[in-house]
Amino acid sequence: MDRKITVALAGNPNTGKTTVFNNLTGARQHVGNWPGVTVEKREGNREHKGTSIHVVDLPGVYSLTAYSLDELIARRFILEEKPDLVANVVDASNLERNLYLTTQLLEMGIPVVLVLNMMDMARSRGYQIDPEKLSSLLGVPVVPCVASRSEGTAEVLDAIVAAAEAHRPGVSLNYGREIEHAVGSLEELLRDRPLPHRATPRWTAIKLLEDDEDMIEGHEEITGDAAVSEAREKSLAHLKSVYGEEAETVIADARYGFISGLMKDVVRKPSIERVTASDQIDKIVLNRWLGIPLFLAVLYGLFQVAFTLSVPFMDWIDAGFGWLADQAGGVEGWFGALLRDGIIGGLGSVLVFVPVIFLLYIALSILEDCGYMARAAFVMDRLMHKIGLHGRSFVPMMLGFGCNVPAIMATRTIENPKDRLVTILVNPLMSCGARLPVYALLAGAFFTAHQGLVVFSMYAIGIILAILLAWVFRKRLVRGESGHFVMELPPYRMPTIKGVAVHTWERGRSFLTRAGTIIFGIVLVIWALDYTGALEPIGRAVAPIFGPAGFGQWQSAVTLVFGILAKEVVVGTFGTLLATGEAGIGAALGSQLGWTPLIAYAFMVMTLIYVPCMATIAVTRRETGSWKWTFFMIGYTLILGWLLATLIYQIGRLFVG
């Protein structure tokens, strides 16, 4: 019979853990959520030498304290689900820091397989690593590999199967006499008491000394025990008097002490560290004067490239839908109208933007994979500090260019709750991929000569407003001390085609499924309402509000109302209401609705700012846990969008008549 084992994949961020996971599981993956939280959970299966291996990818963490949600998830999985072993992916070129997590895994007493990834990088830096020696010193199997080139996958699988068979934990770290004494006496007390999560007494004792929040606050049965809490306090006071530091710091130092001992035995480094290419690039990228202009240039270049390259693809798709509409030309009656104006017109006008959205996602994925995204956060830190946030808030904002939903989830990495709330509140101002079709359509129709610039201006307005509002919110609404920015800058890496493809697909997939389901559904509903004449009254009721902004026609009002469901719908709705395909919308807006470039621009600004889409509203509610802040977000975006669109239209009219 087949043996079944469960392997948890753990490791620091930027160690290529996801690539290892993909190599191990191949295409047989399942992406879901961890129970109760919106953190993505990846699982996959693999048969290897008669063993069926279930691999669970834990969130990337630096440590297993209970300090952030990711860490808590990783730790609880190991303790509660009891995987047969943990495959710990470490970056061989950055071994010392990576082994910190390894020491914590060893403490938990679970069998570990150390996956020494990025051996090529380590070699190119002149590091000589002795895996066998590392293995004997840690007491766990060590397997070198280069996941980005799929080297060593079979060896990793072999080691996993063998280690699950042997089921042997690695070495136990020695923290030095004083700490060991304290751990020992607590361990003795804990031995015959029921422990949480099936943890070992030693691990529990260490956590108690480390002042671990999850342990101290979450386990009344242990901390409420008079004997235990008394022993703990006595030990802590004693250690403080001996070392002059918190026990927590002493324990961290002991772990690094152990690691640096290992490093001396296992790794030979060149006597003079070369100045790495990464540092050379950073001299320019992080330069205090060049940093911000360079960042803006990168952003601008990104949009220009995405737009220029997508034009031929868009023409093909447009021609394809045009041909389809011609074929449907002969169909009579309401069904013909549904086919032409509803399905082909509505869906076609959304799908035509697939190339530009995918190109934008490719560009974002390249920026992320090559390591520039972390630098952007760094470059913006000084500016962000002025508005009461810090650089870390900038990464979720950049991700908002893709989609605000994952971007808002990404704010989890911001530890300070106030910083996090403000970052969530301004995130919808970062113009997402779904709003791009609206800009692309209107800029293409009304600003032929300056398309790229006009679209770029939308993104720029979004960023500027986000920064201004974050400052206002931080000053007036969510006051208080801001958290601190500490972030690893991963070395620059050449992005791999596979990696970029995977990331692009992860982002783009949702646009396609949305286009096929929600957006298609909404467009059909709109068509039906329009066909039966129910749409016009709705539009006429709302339209006067938008009069001062120039787009007070009932059709425009309808698109904005339905655009709240999903912003892509704005374009599709125009397609349906004006009974034309994407290519004809621009002309029809001019001839049927009397739009001028000024109105088009005001409308674009409105689309950028007003009420985030349903999915964003839902994720805001979930992540803030507050209806108050969710409604606040809806309210301020609506008012701000209207005000700005009106201002642009009214002031612009003075100049262009």
Binding site: Y100, Y256, R382, V486, M487
Partner: protein
């Protein structure tokens, strides 16, 4: 001196880290504890500082640089 005053290229030793529990723990897991020696890669002045620590590059935000007290490494060369 506060970390914010360190010059690029210098070897510095961390003396004391002020600030909350979480902040110190975050730094510890990134490899920055008092007593550790690091190299300053760049300093925005005012702005974030990049340190080389145990082979990785760590960016420390403007606000945080005031909370970390350091001194120049005495005599001995940088640990490899």
């Amino acid at each position: 001196m506060p970390l914010g005053l360190a010059q690029p290229g210098e070897c510095i030793e961390i003396l004391k880290i002020r600030g909350g529990h979480g902040f110190r723990r975050r730094l510890a897991e990134m490899g920055l504890t008092s007593g550790s020696r690091v190299r300053v890669i760049s300093n925005g002045r005012p702005g974030p500082v990049v340190l080389e620590i145990k082979g990785s590059r760590l960016a420390i935000g403007h606000g945080a640089t005031h909370k970390i007290h350091v001194r120049h490494c005495s005599g001995a060369a940088m640990p490899a």
